[in-house]
């Protein structure tokens, strides 16, 4: 139990995927302008992250490892993720248009979201069991959503701020991210 708890705290707060691992920066900067959008993106990423975590772990454990072809990891994983995203997108569009409206439009962005592939690779590197893989993926997804939601709250407020012309948009978002990650340093040493 303790171990799971550590994984959660570490993934959400201490080693936050965006603020300290630098994964998924593009959507973090791109889709954090509005709160609603960031919630949608967070949801979509969580969904894919967990599914991808499960699939890639299975493939690694039952195909790549037995055949000793670990070096195919990158190709295999990216294939899995790309196919998964596309599959999920199509399925969602057909069977749950409201869900698709809410999350679906964010799905294509996820293929090239390094967070998904990154977490999948970390899962394997840390030699987690299946249960831990699920918890780990989910916590990272939560950390991603947390950072995204906080960011969008701030950016909505910054919309009216008198920010120097050349700093508007991405530059100031990066500065906010810097200060956010500085605040998150407060969590270091926790657990």
């Amino acid at each position: 139990m303790q171990e799971y708890f550590i994984i959660i705290i570490s993934a959400v707060l201490i080693n936050n995927i965006v603020l300290s691992q630098f994964l998924g920066i593009c959507p973090f900067l791109g889709v954090s302008k509005k709160l609603s959008a960031s919630l949608g993106m967070g949801g979509a990423v969580s969904f894919v992250l967990v599914l991808a975590g499960a699939l890639t772990w299975t493939v690694q454990t039952y195909i790549l490892n037995p055949f000793k072809i670990g070096y195919l990891q990158t190709i295999a994983f990216i294939l899995i993720i790309a196919a998964l995203v596309q599959f999920v997108e199509m399925a969602m569009r057909k069977y749950s248009p409201p869900l698709y409206k809410a999350l679906g439009i964010y799905l294509p962005l996820i293929t090239t979201n390094c967070a998904v592939l990154g977490v999948a690779i970390i899962n394997i590197k840390k030699e987690y069991t299946f249960g831990k893989v699920m918890v780990h993926s989910l916590s990272h997804a939560a950390g991603f959503t947390l950072a995204l939601v906080l960011m969008s709250g701030i950016r909505e407020r910054l919309e009216d701020a008198d920010i120097p012309e050349s700093m508007r948009g991405t530059p100031i978002a990066l500065v906010v991210a810097a200060l956010m990650s500085m605040a998150f340093l407060g969590f270091s040493g926790l657990i």
Partner: protein, 196 residues
């Protein structure tokens, strides 16, 4: 457009990191030292050149509607090769770059160049484009990492340049990455506005 301009556009006008803001993740993660920046840039440029070349060569035979998966597979293959090569020949660098080597696969710049340039142009321009873009990205990485290494560790390529007590460790921590890139982008915007 001449080949020269294909080459130079990637360095300044369409610099993938500083102008198009693509490939932010590695630019933030591995730029703690200039050495890492150079290593990452080299690995990235290699993959970009190889994949641009391959895609350009195969552009007539790749079916339109599955082209993206095909690109991904091609890129992933080259990334895997790079990964293996680095593991074998530059183990230290390999360790410090960590998972960001396999993550070159999902670097939007490579896929973007494949889609926007390589699949419409012959091999020679495609290579030139890749070299330009690769150098542009590498230069940007070096720029970011020089700031961070000098200010954060007091060294440049491992050579001590600031007194022992001076460096602000923050700069090589995650916040330093965000702040350097943010300020650099702001600076680029400012310069561009002045030029215009």
């Amino acid at each position: 457009m001449s080949l020269m301009s294909e080459f130079s556009k990637g360095i300044i006008k369409e610099n993938p990191l500083l102008r198009l803001m693509l490939g932010c993740c590695p630019a933030l993660a591995i730029t703690t030292s200039v050495e890492n920046g150079l290593g990452m840039g080299a690995a990235f440029t290699g993959v970009l050149i190889a994949s641009n070349m391959a895609i350009s060569a195969m552009r007539k035979i790749i079916p339109e509607n599955v082209r993206i998966p095909v690109y991904v597979v091609i890129i992933a293959s080259f990334v895997t090769m790079t990964d293996q090569l680095m593991h074998a020949f530059t183990p230290a660098l390999y360790d410090s770059l960590g998972i960001f080597i396999p993550l070159i696969v999902v670097n939007c710049i490579i896929l973007g160049r494949a889609e926007a340039f390589a699949n419409k142009n012959p091999i020679i321009p495609a290579i030139i484009d890749a070299v330009g873009m690769g150098i542009g990205f590498t230069l940007a990485l070096v720029l970011v990492s020089s700031f961070r290494e000098v200010l954060g560790a007091g060294t440049f390529l491992g050579i001590q340049v600031l007194p022992e007590s001076a460096p602000a460790i923050l700069m090589i921590l995650p916040p330093g990455g965000f702040i350097t890139l943010g300020c650099l982008l702001g600076l680029m915007n400012k310069l561009q506005k002045k030029a215009a």
